[in-house]
Structures are given as C-alpha cells and as structure tokens.
C-alpha cells in the first residue's frame, strides 16, 4: 500500500459570486485521505462540507472561484486541462449523492447506467460492460441481478436505488469513493444496511472513502479520521476516537451534547442558541464566536485562531484550547 494519499487538499478556498454578493463557502481547508481509509467531513448546512469536495474534484459551479492545491493520486487537479481532469475523475473517483432518485436517469435501465462508465473509462465492449453491470449489482446486494439489470430506476425502492448508485460509483473500481450524505434520505434501518455495504466494499476493494454527513452517529461507526467544519473552515480534525473522546472545539462538544440519546433521559437538551452562519456574513475571527458557550479567549472574536495540535494528529482551531494546552492540562 503506497503512502501517497489518494486525495490531498491544501489550502482550498472557494468563493461564489451570487446576486447578493460574494459568498465564501470554503476557506483554507487542508486534509488528505489514503487508500483503505475512511475520512468523514462533518458539518451542518452552510459549513462548506459538500462544496469542499465538489470544488476539489472540479465539480463546483461555474460561477465559483477555486484556489488551492488538490492532488489526486499525486497529480495536480486544479491546473489540469478540463478534459483530462474529467477523464481522471471518471476513472478514479466514484460519487454517491444524497438523493438516489435524481442521481439516476429515469429513462435508462440501471444496467445501461452502470455500464456507461465502464465503456467510457475502461474501454469495455458493450457486452463486457453489461456483464460487469450484473456483477456489480450482485456485489451491492441486489437480488436476481441478472434480471434486475434490465429494470428502470423507478422500479426500485429507495434503498435499492442507492445500492444501484453505489454500483455505478464502483463501476471502474475507483481509488476514491465520495459519499455525500448517502443515507440522509433513507430510513434508519436501510441506512444501517448501506453503511455496512460500503464498509464491506471498502474492505474488499481497498478504496479510500470520503464520507460527508451531518450525523455524528454515522461518523462514529464508519470513520477513521474526522474533520468538523463550521462556516467554511475546519474547526477540529483528528482520529475519530480522539475527537469523540475529547472534543476540544466548543462546537464539536456542543454538537455531540445536543443529540438525544435513547436511554439517556434529560429534561432539556443542551442546545446551541442561534443558527449556523450564512456564507455571506462571515466574521473576521472565529465564525462560532457568536454562539460559543465558552468564549474563554477574547482574541477569538476578531482574530482567526490557527489550527494547532492538542494531541498527536488531533488539530483544533481555537485559542481557548491552545491556551489550555499551554497550561499543560
């Protein structure tokens, strides 16, 4: 297993021009993911988690300005000519999005849709691609794959459709699988099935997986490394056990505390007041300042805290934490 990360992002910034003015969706994001690793990107709406990945792979809207360095399998993506980038992306990256209904073309059979990337990027013949489609449907757990390959998307249930989408994403045996809220629209029992499926496939194929979600429970189950985003920036990042055992950014801690846990009965949930910030109105300092229940360091309001280590590989963007660290806790 090579040590080069499959995907490496450095200082990624994404600005969007809109009618209401410039919106800064992502700012100064660094992370990487290696083969066999699952990297989770967590955040609420407006955090920039989806936009980070879309911009990195060249799928940001045309109106977006993307700066920074992105390397896919060691090759620089941002300066690559569009045609070549499209081919690299098609061959080496698979995508699973939230809504299986709109990810699939309603007028083509599922077999056709799975076969298409095989023909295009692997140069397979029509017949070979179709056989591969049957193989993949079987791999993702669709019963009677040989018959179902001729079916249309609307003939599948939500969970099954998402499996089809996963089959499509894996068609070219990509090095990287990007799953953007793949289970949010699904029932919790179906979610459990899909989570297991992706984990099993990753084991088998050694794919790197980037899992974007707002559900901390899912992250706890699937991720090796997690990065928490707020207001377009990463506020905490590290191995999943470390971050969950010792959430060092007030936002992470608050997010974990605000979930109702079955079996743990409380009268009032510790809720964070206010709402996630709009990408149009981001303050110069820490974006979480106005909602922060801690506010231990006055610098946070006007000065942007840098990401610093509080434990090996565990990074936090907060003056407060760094001050505590300095005191040697």
């Amino acid at each position: 297993m090579s040590d080069t990360p499959v995907l490496s992002i450095q200082d990624l910034t994404v600005s969007l021009g809109t009618r209401r003015g410039p919106a800064r969706a992502v700012a100064g994001v660094d992370w990487s993911v290696r083969a066999g690793e699952t990297f989770a990107l967590v955040g609420e709406s407006g955090s920039g988690k989806s936009m980070t990945v879309l911009a990195a792979t060249g799928l940001a809207p045309e109106a977006a300005r993307v700066t920074g360095r992105v390397e896919l399998l060691g090759e620089e993506l941002t300066t690559m000519p569009a045609q070549r980038r499209r081919r690299m992306r098609g061959r080496h990256v698979g995508f699973v999005f939230q809504d299986p209904m709109t990810s699939l073309n309603p007028v083509l059979t599922v077999g056709r849709q799975i076969a298409e990337p095989c023909e295009e990027h692997l140069g397979m013949s029509r017949r070979a691609a179709r056989d591969r489609a049957v193989e993949l449907l079987d791999l993702v757990g669709i019963p009677s794959a040989a018959q179902r390959v001729e079916a249309y998307p609307h003939q599948f249930s939500g969970g099954m459709r998402q499996r089809v989408v996963i089959a499509m994403a894996l068609a070219c045996e990509p090095d990287l699988l990007i799953a953007d809220e793949p289970t949010t629209a699904l029932d919790v029992t179906t979610q459990a099935q899909i989570v297991e499926l992706i984990a099993a496939l990753q084991q088998r194929l050694g794919t790197a997986v980037v899992w974007i979600t707002h559900d901390l429970g899912v992250v706890a189950g699937v991720a090796d490394t997690v990065a928490v985003m707020y207001g377009g920036r990463i506020v905490e990042q590290g191995p999943v056990e470390a971050v969950f055992a010792d959430p060092s950014h007030p936002y992470t801690a608050a997010l974990l505390a605000a979930r109702p846990e079955p079996g743990r009965v409380v009268a009032q949930l510790p809720a964070i007041q206010g709402s996630p910030p709009s990408p149009f109105e981001l303050p110069p300092g820490c974006a979480f300042w106005s909602r922060c229940p801690v506010r231990a360091d006055a610098r946070c309001e006007h000065e942007l805290p840098p990401l610093a280590e509080v434990a090996p590989a565990h990074l936090v963007r907060s003056f407060y934490q760094q001050a505590r660290q300095g005191e040697g806790r």
């Binding site: 969007l16 809109t18 410039p22 919106a23 989806s50 109106a63």
Partner: protein
C-alpha cells in the same frame, strides 16, 4: 451546498419570496440591463401617449378630404404622405393607435377576468368541474379568431364591440389554462395545506394564497396576449369586421392599400410598420418580464466579477 447558497447562485426569485416592493425594484433593475426590453418599453410608452393624446397630436384631421392632394408621397407637410382621398396618413395612423390599444386592453381584460375565474375554479376543485370547464375551453381554443368573429358579427354586427368580444372570447382559454396550471402546482404546496388545516375557507385560500403566487405567469401571459390581440384586431379590421370606416384602423388601412402597393407604397408601409413595432414591443417586454419573474441563471462573467 447549503440551500441558501445554492439558491443565491441560481439567482432565484425563489418561490416568490419577495414582497411587492422589491419585486418591482428587481424588475426595473433587470430591465435596465436589457436593451431590447428598454426599446420595447419606450415604444409602448410612446404608444400609450399616442393612444391617449392621439387626436391632439395629429397634425391634420383624420377625415380632412383633400382630393387635389391625393396619393401624395411623404413630404414635409404630410410626413407619411396622403391616401386616395387626400387624407393625412400620419394623422390616421396616430389615431388608429387608440383603436388598437382599446381593443387590445378590453379584449385581454375580458379574457383575463373570465379565464382567471374559470381556471381558478377548475384547478382548485378538480373533478367534474375541472373536466367540464376545460373541455369547454378546448372547444373555444379550436376556433380561429376570424371564424368566431364572423359568428359574432352575425349576432352583433361589425364594429368595435364585436372586435373586443370576439378577441376576448378567443383568448379566454389560454388564460384559463395558464391559471389552472399555476393553481394545480400551488395548491399542492404545503402552505396551502397548512391554510386548510387552520380551517381557512376556500374563497379565502384562493384569494390570499393562490392568486398572489400565480401572478408571475399571468403577468407574462397578459403582455404576450396584448401583442396577439392587437394583431388580431388588425386582421379583423382588414376584413372589415372590426371598427367601421371612416374611423381609421391599421388593418383597414392595409386593406385599402392593397390596390396601391406599387404606386403609393406609403399607404401600406406605415400602418404595417406601426402594427409590427407595437407587436414587437409587447413581445420584448413580455419576454423580459418572464426572465425576471422566473428564476434564472446568473451569467458566468457577472458572477466572477462580483467575487473580485
């Protein structure tokens, strides 16, 4: 992408989530950047001015017969020349504008009022009401304007009223359809269900919730229908079914110019140009309104500029 960012990038008008004041401001801002729309608006303003003050603006009387001067080409005295009775063509064209506007406004007004009501009832109540009403509309839709006008002439006799009624009746179905389509989509929205859950009466729901939310397509349809109504009026007066001579009407003037196409081109060209420009102006404004009142994409260059 968060919903807010996404819709902002699209330049969404959203589901009409703006109050009336800013909608007007948006319309004006958008029109300002659209040269054809500006031109169209100016022509329309001119038209309205002429329609209101036509007789005052006319240099000569519309029925001042001057046989000695007949069929005179355009000159300083008669900018558009004179016709076969020596009448000043410019004056006649100006005054005829009022006829066109009148017929256009009244007929589209009728079509809007009746079509809106029928479409609202059909779309809201569905069932047999919908079936009956829309089949009637389908029948009407199948009638060419002229055929219907002939039928109405048989009842009412030719004239201004006939023209207005005929055109109004013929354009009712399109308003009914546009309204019904809008109602069908709006009534499925959750806020309508919420209003039902409160116990709001049907009438109140239609008036306060549905109508304001279907205003946009209706406005667009109105401006486009005005264009066609004026064209239809010209056709009717061409055939002698509209306002009767000696009152001037653009279509009638075209008819009279038939025999003089080669000898006195000004008799046909000026009224024809007037029809053409008016219809074009309404179409341009209508298109621009449609672009503004429906969500649209910000162009890439505009978007990039705003990030710098």
């Amino acid at each position: 992408m968060s919903q807010d960012t996404e819709s902002a990038v699209r330049g969404d008008a959203g589901t009409g989530g703006r109050d009336a004041e800013s909608a007007l401001r948006r319309v004006l801002t958008a029109l300002r950047h659209d040269p054809p729309a500006i031109a169209g608006t100016l022509v329309l303003l001119l038209l309205v001015l002429v329609g209101v003050a036509g007789t005052q603006l006319a240099p000569a009387g519309i029925n001042d017969i001057d046989v000695d001067n007949m069929l005179a080409p355009p000159s300083r005295e008669h900018l558009f020349g004179t016709d076969e009775l020596g009448r000043d063509v410019l004056s006649r064209v100006l005054v005829a504008a009022r006829v066109s506007l009148q017929v256009g406004a009244v007929s589209v007004g009728i079509a809007l009022a009746v079509g809106l009501t029928l479409g609202l009832l059909a779309g809201y109540y569905r069932g047999w009401v919908d079936t009956v009403l829309m089949r009637c509309m389908d029948v009407l839709f199948a009638f060419p304007v002229l055929l219907l006008a002939v039928a109405i002439v048989a009842v009412l006799g030719p004239g201004l009223l006939t023209a207005m009624v005929a055109i109004g009746v013929v354009y009712t179905p399109i308003f009914a359809r546009v309204t019904r389509a809008g109602v069908l989509s709006v009534r499925e929205q959750v806020f309508v269900r919420a209003a039902v859950s409160i116990g709001t009466s049907d009438l109140r729901i239609m008036r306060r919730h549905i109508l304001p939310n279907i205003a946009a397509p209706l406005i667009v349809q109105t401006s486009l229908s005005l264009a066609f109504a004026i064209l239809s009026e010209a056709a009717l007066s061409f055939l002698g079914l509209g306002i009767q001579p000696p009152a001037p009407a653009w279509g009638r003037m075209l008819f009279d110019a038939r025999g003089f196409v080669t000898d006195a081109w000004w008799l046909g060209v000026f009224p024809g140009a007037a029809i053409f420009l008016t219809v074009l102006a309404f179409n341009l404004v209508g298109d621009a309104l449609r672009d503004v009142l429906d969500p649209r994409q910000l162009t890439v260059s505009e978007a990039r500029r705003s990030t710098e």
